[in-house]
């Protein structure tokens, strides 16, 4: 269970560094963010949702069944788009902040 940050997309704003509840994300000297302690990630996705550039990829560790798929988000204010990339397939699930949960 962890996250990976795409250096090509990361703008170095540091929002993920600030928000991670375990303070597991650090900034490199070049300015971009990186996951320093991948084994300590809870998988809460706070950083994924905080990143305004969709630079953070959330994935399942191989030990819990991960096979390379990953997820990122796009914030649309009233809703969040969860973009799931699974091999060549891509699926977008839009979750309305106020009406998403029926359970």
């Amino acid at each position: 269970m962890s996250i990976a940050i795409d250096r090509e997309i990361c703008k170095g704003c540091g929002a993920c560094v600030e928000i991670c509840p375990g303070r597991l994300i650090y900034r490199s000297e070049e300015g971009w963010s990186y996951m320093k302690y991948p084994r300590d990630c809870w998988g809460c996705a706070s950083c994924v949702k905080e990143c305004q550039h969709s630079a953070i990829r959330y994935y399942l560790g191989a030990d819990i069944g991960g096979k390379g798929a990953w997820l990122t988000t796009e914030d649309k204010e009233e809703s969040i788009d969860f973009i799931i990339v699974n091999g060549e397939k891509q699926q977008v699930i839009t979750v309305n902040r106020k009406e998403s949960n029926k359970y």
Partner: protein, 566 residues
């Protein structure tokens, strides 16, 4: 490493800016002009149990229920070991705090009549992905609340027996803090990471409880000599396998039943429907070869499946990702379930500080709320809000008669002494050959194998507990001589030390209660029967001169007002 010293003074120090801590701060700000400092080791916008969000408030009094029926339920589910005064006084406020969080912006699902939509008998459905940012925004709107993010508190400052502040350090800057306050509210949450987890490898932190809640509040209280209660009532969650995601969303929200591998609804074998029973029954199916066990979702509609995807994205993304990644969603395959490793968490069980009805601990000036406060199980989010509110009101009353601490030469010496303790970890010690990770692995192995972890099907062997106690003491000695390279290492070291103290207390409590109760939460091989004639009472402890002293306390009635007397 040169640490700067920052001495701060405030009216009320709140340690931990999670569910209870933020609500305490809001209560103080709305009822007074007292100055508040929240010391939070993460960032209050996304810290503690609610960092990922939550999709139900599990403690609410619906129209056809009452405060008394709520207390009755908690008492039955906890097999009698509750402080009824605490559960009752929190239950009185459950609906008010729910309306309060709604007024702050939390979306709560309502029916056509405008009533909250129930989830189960005592829950309501919410869209809680954003609950923590909502709370944080409200906290930041008050000028008399100062938030210190990334500041980890490590020990209380005591004046005789009274708590007058706490020491801590910044995880981001080389700063040592001494924060003096007229009252302190501890709201640090419970303890994860004591036992070897379900996923001990790369995904070791993919667990039920927030892995960054490492029992700091418990450990600080133990070291300061506070009376603690019911650590032997461990909490073990029943979760979706691998992702350790919630099962309630499927079981309560969708009405899915627990089945074994033959499709048999094994809960039907039991009259009891309590929380620990549902776990126990699952473990029993595994032991007799009828596992694995599942929540029966196969056959739900595609629409229901799509709704489940959204519900999990709202608070536990890993489960939706798993469904999509494997190409096997809940409509085509039942969801496998398993028990987690045990935790100590007073929001679900009765473990924590022994408090009076006002939530003051046995150390004057120290109040406790949320998962760190004992005697009051099944608080969940709204119970923690209610308790945060009660603790805040009590702290405000307490400070009326308390003057600020004067920083005397004695205090300055004490600050220097504590700072030396931190600096000790930065001095390279050649004899420190073990790493922080090694100590953590060793602790979790000891607890798993000797104090009823997953590998032992949660069974406690009293004859092994003495070995566990000795080994935890040895690991504590090793931890005191670990090397730190930076402030984050220092945090890791204090987290492991805190967890070892919690383990010590837990082992002592397991040794003290000579019966079995709460199914797997405390199931003893040597004492397999529940014995209400002898053990319908609290097992409490106080840590003095390096040893635990056991105190047995009687149960308290719901209309009694409990005060500390001895």
């Amino acid at each position: 490493m040169q640490l700067k010293t920052q001495v701060l003074e405030t009216d009320i120090l709140i340690i931990g800016g999670g569910t209870a801590g933020c609500f305490s701060a809001l209560t103080i700000a709305e009822k007074s002009d007292a100055r508040v400092i929240i010391a939070e080791k993460a960032h209050i916008k996304r810290s503690g149990c609610l960092a990922a969000g939550v999709n139900a408030l599990n403690a609410f009094i619906h129209e056809n229920e009452s405060v008394d029926s709520y207390v009755d339920y908690v008492k039955a589910d906890s097999q009698g070991i509750i402080r009824e005064d605490l559960v009752y006084t929190a239950a009185l406020r459950l609906n008010d705090v729910t309306r309060k969080i709604e007024s702050l912006g939390l979306p709560i699902l309502k029916d056509a009549r405008g009533k909250y939509i129930a989830r189960g008998r005592r829950g309501i459905k919410i869209n809680g992905e954003n609950i923590k940012p909502i709370l944080a925004k409200a906290v930041y709107s008050h000028k008399n609340i100062t938030v210190l993010n990334r500041v980890n508190m490590i020990d209380y400052i005591l004046d005789s027996n009274c708590v007058i502040g706490a020491f801590g350090f910044s995880v981001e800057e080389n700063v040592f803090y001494a924060i003096y306050a007229r009252a302190v509210i501890c709201a640090t949450g419970g303890a994860a990471g004591l036992y070897r987890p379900n996923n001990p490898g790369f995904s070791r932190h993919k667990m039920w409880y927030c892995p960054f809640n490492t029992g700091a509040g418990y450990a600080m209280g133990i070291r300061a000599g506070a009376e603690m209660t019911t650590f032997e009532m461990r909490f073990i969650a029943l979760r979706c396998k691998d992702t350790i995601s919630p099962t309630g969303t499927i079981a309560n929200g969708l009405g899915a039943r627990q089945v074994n591998r033959y499709g048999f609804e094994y809960i039907e074998n039991y009259k009891d429907r309590s929380t620990p029973l549902r776990l126990f029954a699952t473990v029993q199916e595994m032991l007799k070869g009828s596992g694995p066990c599942f929540l029966r979702t196969k056959g739900i509609t595609k629409e229901q499946e799509a709704d489940l995807y959204k519900a999990y994205l709202n608070m536990s993304l890993a489960q939706t990702l798993k469904w999509i990644e494997t190409g096997k969603g809940p409509s085509s395959e039942n969801v496998e379930i398993e028990g987690t490793e045990p935790y100590i968490v007073g929001g679900h069980t009765a473990s924590g500080y022994w408090v009076d009805t006002k939530r003051q601990t046995t150390l004057p000036g120290l109040f406790a709320a949320g998962d760190v406060a004992g005697g009051s199980p099944k608080k969940y989010v709204t119970g923690c809000f209610a308790e945060g509110q009660i603790a805040a009101e009590s702290a405000l009353e307490y400070i009326k008669n308390r003057n600020p601490t004067v920083i005397t030469m004695f205090e300055r010496r004490r600050i220097r002494r504590k700072k030396r303790e931190l600096n000790h970890f930065f001095r390279k010690k050649l004899f420190a050959i073990h790493s922080i990770d090694e100590i953590e692995d060793a602790m979790q192995k000891v607890m798993d194998e000797n104090a009823g972890g997953i590998s032992k099907n949660y069974l406690i062997e009293h004859s092994k507990l003495e070995y566990a106690r000795q080994r935890i003491d040895e690991l504590l000695e090793l931890a005191r001589n670990l090397n730190a390279e930076d402030m984050h290492d220092l945090l890791f070291i204090y987290e492991i030390i805190d967890r070892l103290y919690v383990c010590k207390a837990l082992i002592h409590h397991l040794q003290s209660r000579k019966e079995s109760r709460w199914y797997n939460y405390m199931s003893s091989i040597e004492y397999p029967e529940r014995d209400d004639s002898q053990w319908l009472k609290f097992v409490n402890s106080v840590y003095e001169n390096g040893k635990f002293r056991t105190i047995f306390r009687e149960l308290t009635g719901r209309c009694e007002f409990y005060e500390h007397c001895n």
